[in-house]
């Protein structure tokens, strides 16, 4: 069964979904982000690259309202993260390094939990599981017994159910086999076609070639390169 990924209807009136200007995030005394400038438009698919420790994950957590802005300005969905970062959380779906699953719940129960919390229907859960090719046997297996790839798929199914306006994915391809990676790319493209904005981090060059229209590279906590010159990004 093929499910088209759709998003909620509460749209922003401003052009940029994400607007960071000299954004600084200090974690444990260390500037994980040291003045990032980034502008992302609605429906964009952005691959975020960079070596370990360059601030990719922190940038995603900042945009999700989970990391505090120390200096500069940051707006996501017109929400000022400097003053009210919690307000952005209903709009974003974050998949971090960890999958955010409950080990003692089955794959289906984990996805169902997300659905119940946002008031989604049972068929939404079925559709999301089918979309991620999670069969009934895997769906009935506790998360603790799933393989790394199956756990990643389950976490992605939860994200699909969320129908977030902004998808923030930290190494979403990690742990997936080739077929699942292609499937994930399709899902991300569907999400952007439905109006969602997607940013994901990756170490893999081939993941940013071809189908990804924009690649931003971080180095030392700032934007080092941005392959699209039309977005007004500067270092």
């Amino acid at each position: 069964m093929v499910q088209t990924v759709t998003t909620n209807d509460t749209a922003t009136t401003n052009d940029a979904v994400i607007l960071l200007a000299d954004a600084v995030v200090v974690l444990g005394g260390f500037p994980a982000l040291a003045g990032v400038n980034l502008q992302v438009q609605p429906g964009e698919l952005v691959a975020l690259r960079g070596a370990n420790g360059t601030g990719k994950s922190t940038l995603l957590r900042l945009c999700a309202g989970l990391a505090a802005l120390s200096r500069g300005s940051a707006h996501v969905m017109n929400v000022d993260l400097a003053t009210n970062r919690a307000a952005v959380r209903p709009y974003v779906g974050l998949l971090g390094h960890r999958n955010g699953l409950y080990a003692d719940l089955t794959a289906r129960e984990n996805v169902q939990l997300t659905a119940q919390l946002i008031g989604a229907q049972r068929h939404d859960v079925d559709d999301a599981l089918a979309r991620l090719k999670i069969d009934s046997r895997v769906a009935a297996t506790r998360a603790t017994s799933l393989s790394a790839g199956q756990r990643r798929r389950t976490a992605l199914a939860s994200l699909v159910v969320r129908r977030a306006r902004v998808w923030l994915l930290d190494e979403p391809h990690a742990g997936l086999d080739t077929a699942a990676r292609v499937e994930l790319d399709d899902i991300l493209h569907e999400a952007t076609q439905a109006g969602a904005t997607v940013i994901y981090t990756t170490h893999e060059i081939d993941r940013t070639d071809g189908r990804v229209p924009r690649t931003v590279t971080l180095a030392g906590g700032v934007v080092a390169t941005d392959d699209s010159s039309t977005h007004g990004v500067s270092r």
Partner: protein, 226 residues
Amino acid sequence: MRQALVVARKDLLIEWRARLLLVRVAPFALLVLVLFAVALDSEPLILRAAAGLVWLAMLFSSLMLVQRSFDVETDDGAVDVLLTGTVEPAQVYLGKMLAAFAQLLALATTLVLGAVVLYGATVGADHLVLLVTATLSAAWGLSSVGTLYGAVVANMSGRDSLLALLALPVTAPLLIAASRATEAAFGSQTIDTASGWAWTALLVVFAVTFTAAGAAAFGTLMESDA
């Protein structure tokens, strides 16, 4: 409130699968009761201290339950999923508190029965309502303060010991009130029923205060960089 019930159901389902209460916490609590009896080695003394020993065992055991309740949130970063969504942090707090309340109530019932069997404590029919009310109020208070302090230490290193260090002093009023109210329900000569109800009222005030504080502060406390 719907979201709080979803969170509570999730926590109880996880507990049902993990069987922590049944396999580890309840046996630990009963063992504490037995060891107290062995240490005191005096029937009149044990009978007089029975109520206090029940709630002291409850206090220690509740730390294990609360710790587990937050471990499942932080082990795989599930709390981030809860926080980045349409769920109000207060709803998450109330849900986790409700689940803890249900478990602590079951544990308190077990320990009161343990006191009756091991210590020979008695509860007259006229004191049954007081005992039930005091137990409900104390379990509510313990779950509210436990969930609040569980959130305080959730993202800290060494949280196992920190939870005990931070939460135990705060629960001193609850320990005193619950012990005195239960003592009255056990028909002690040193405290009358009216005083037992007064201590129960204090338990309700304690529970309401910490429930309100927890609901207000939970979101901020659970943020890893807060």
